[in-house]
Symmetry: C2
């Protein structure tokens, strides 16, 4: 669909005979679609999944595959961590806030162990081993990692326990995850139509969603959904007009997606009066290496630190791009750089190196004395094991000493191949306003009959904050709930 | 209306006989409504204006009354300033950005002198005198003031010329302005129904807006609009649920409004599939005094400056509340404080005073050395007339010396009576997506037949930025355009 192609609803009277019929029509076969299709099919519904690509997977399949799970999973126990739902809840409300959706988070935490077991039932395996270093993603097959739980101030509101669960895979685990989830949905009975692009919802005379119109190889195809339509079409980072209208902070940055997150589901639903929520909230990843910023510091264009560098790295990334003047730099000394094992450096090399900070700050175009002042303050406190500004864990605090280096996120990882020129990439977190059962709400706060949504087409648990694994996590968790609710949905015409 | 009362559309078939009929139905009698009603009536349309309060004015009447106008108005000329539309355009695109609406700004600048004359035609007078000090609002009757044009970086993209036009009034000029504009609309022929709360749009069988349903003293009243409905219902700062969903940064802060900016027009239109834009963008005013922060500095909770203090004060206010850790403090020395004439101090008193910055920063709960480092850096550069970090005008640069004081925005002006406890108040800038003629667009980018919007119910010229006078300014300018277009709108049923 083009960014402004028509998403206006089509009255059922204009359709005539539908080309296909089902009970529950799921639109999009990423993680939320797979979860919804699985549960709807298992509940006995006749389920069709439409996917615009030539196979299932969506942006989920291109992700790292991390799942934010806890409350006492088998992997957590095997790695020696004691977690519980209340502890997980306390962390997530803080980490996904301010203004996180506490009701959704409560359900998510209370159901997390069961949800973990569901992944295993779908055939996903998790190795009972723990990766204990700061990173975007371990290059190992370890099944558990930190996602900010051990950093200030999060470690003051909840007992620090790692909850980043990783499907057994080296590096990006999204493909393995989606292979299992899509197979599970198919095994449960869901039928998939690929190369099929949904374009307009179909409304019956009472305003109930009764199906949709799609295109396949340029031909119009119509689908009747006897019970409900479930939109799991993803976010809108690939739609430049929607970004300009709702989340312009991402303009000019890289896109974390499969290239098809065009917001079409959000637009189709908004066209029939569905409400959206927090359309401006985004997640961003700077191509800076957590192992290096923890050992040194991350500074803005004026040479200032702005967060403890050991938080979940998306947190300093968003804070930088949204709130601080650029460009951003990792500042590290030779000792810190050398202490990162070469395999963990991801090919990251200094752009500038200098014996003095005065030289370095001049190379970086900062005000004279800016970086000198920052490092002098940092070193003075670090010598005492303190970081009174941002409270980085004392284990990372050590006065930096010459020679110094500055690393440019714009250079990317592994030589920069395919990285965003701006040094940052992101995706959108805002979307349709839904209940915990995935019902899409209208602007009067009432469910739109026959319409459900989950995944990044919906506004999920997130307030302003994000941690890895909460998109695949809430997409599948609330996708399952939406699938069950859609299967139980009753169209009065057929009831 | 309660925050989640029903805004779902009503089919015309359910109405039967309408209680009232007109050509153009304007909803809300603030500045945008007055402008739209005036032009629609002058174009020959039979115009009705609905106002939920007991008289016209809305939030506009409670505002300072500043109008952002330029391009060479009589007041600018009389005060000796040489402006032109291109110069005004260059400033506004920067000041209202990033991502300002350049097409709307272009029209606004090209039409600004004519628009100024329209205000005079409506009976608004402007004194040809210039107030040359930094302030939120002069306590004089001067007709012209700076609104950030003379500060970095704005003074590098456009020739600095003041464009804050003020109706002749001492202090808040909004009441005078609205008295003139509402009288002009009435004189042009518009009829007003007060105490009338619009609740739902009425749609004909083709999806065209045909009128609306309202309530007066609890009774349902129906209105048929033969040509169009113009929504000028204001923003949504008074709707806590909408704030939580779209602009949570304002939760907990004061509200710049008449208490009735509940977003009802935005909701009514979204309920029929209208598109919104930039719902998260807000304007914020910290109750810190520009005359004092220019002479000293504004710092965040970590003792850091973050902007040149001589920018438009809403700019440091938004940047503080949105991006910096609080609390915020004006830091000034005795010499600076005393140099502000007592009449211009607005009753602002230091909360803490100290001979040393070490004492002061301890009182403020900042990291040891934080404020000392900030002031040392500031003073070192100020001694040379430089501010390499933020480029404050050299005329404000002077090394600060003991004794020092810290002023708390939470204490408010004039003893704090009625001020926001948080030290900040704001309003919303996001709203319905409209064309330059006020046509409300749907989610497919096409106009919704029969529906127009202007003022803060619409997303206007603004990207992320704001300056005073651009709400009254774009509300009236695009309100006039919407009124003209609505009057020319043709309902095919009546054509």
């Amino acid at each position: 669909m083009s960014p402004r192609s028509s998403v206006e609803p089509v009255p059922v009277a204009e359709i005539g005979a539908f080309d296909h019929e089902c009970d529950v029509l799921v639109v999009g076969f990423g993680c939320a679609g797979a979860a919804a299709a699985f549960e709807a099919a298992r509940a006995g519904a006749d389920v069709l999944v439409l996917e615009r690509a030539s196979g299932p997977g969506g942006s989920s399949a291109q992700s790292g595959g991390e799942l934010y799970l806890g409350g006492g999973t088998e992997v957590q126990k095997a790695c020696g961590f004691d977690d519980d739902p209340d502890n997980m809840y306390a962390y997530l409300v803080k980490a996904l806030g301010p203004n996180a959706d506490t009701a959704k988070i409560r359900l998510y935490c209370d159901g997390s162990v069961e949800h973990f077991e569901w992944f295993r039932e779908c055939g996903v395996t998790f190795n009972p081993s723990f990766y204990d270093q700061p990173t975007w993603m371990p290059m190992s097959e370890d099944g558990l990692m930190w996602l900010g739980e051990n950093s200030w101030p999060y470690n003051t509101v909840a007992r620090p326990v790692p909850r980043g669960h990783r499907p057994a895979a080296s590096g990006f685990g999204g493909a393995v995850l989606m292979e299992k989830l899509s197979a599970a949905a198919t095994a449960a009975g869901a039928v998939t139509h690929v190369d099929t692009v949904a374009s307009n919802l179909v409304l019956d005379a009472d305003g109930r969603v009764a199906g949709l119109v799609a295109r396949k190889y340029g031909e119009r195809v119509t689908y009747r959904a006897r019970r409900a339509v479930v939109l799991t079409t993803g976010g809108f980072v690939d739609n430049e007009e929607m970004l300009a209208d709702h989340a312009p902070v991402l303009l000019g940055h890289g896109k974390v997606s499969d290239g098809l997150d065009d917001g079409s589901g959000i637009r189709m639903a908004a066209a029939i009066g569905a409400a959206t929520r927090r359309m401006g909230v985004v997640e961003i990843a700077l191509t800076a290496l957590p192992a290096m910023v923890c050992r040194g510091m991350l500074v803005d264009g004026l040479g200032r630190r702005f967060l403890n560098e050991d938080v979940y790295p998306g947190h300093w990334s968003v804070h930088a791009v949204r709130d601080q003047p650029g460009p951003y730099w990792t500042i590290i000394d030779e000792e810190g750089y050398e202490s990162v094992p070469e395999a963990d450096r991801w090919g990251v090399l200094p752009k500038y190196a200098a014996e003095t900070l005065a030289e370095l700050e001049e190379s970086l175009g900062m005000p004279p004395g800016a970086l000198e002042a920052t490092v002098e303050t940092y070193n003075r406190h670090a010598a005492k094991g303190e970081d009174p500004y941002f409270h980085k864990d004392p284990k990372w605090l050590r006065p930096l000493k010459p020679p110094f280096a500055a690393i440019d996120p714009g250079a990317g990882f592994f030589g920069g191949t395919g990285g965003p020129a701006s040094g940052a990439s992101g995706f959108t977190l805002g979307g349709l306003h839904t209940t915990a059962d995935g019902e899409v709400l209208n602007n009067s706060g009432e469910p739109v009959p026959g319409l459900y949504a989950a995944g990044r087409a919906a506004s999920g648990m997130h307030g302003e904050g994000y941690v890895s694994g909460t998109s695949l996590g809430d997409g599948t968790f609330f996708g399952r709930r939406a699938g069950r609710a859609a299967a139980a949905s009753t169209n009065k015409e057929t009831a």
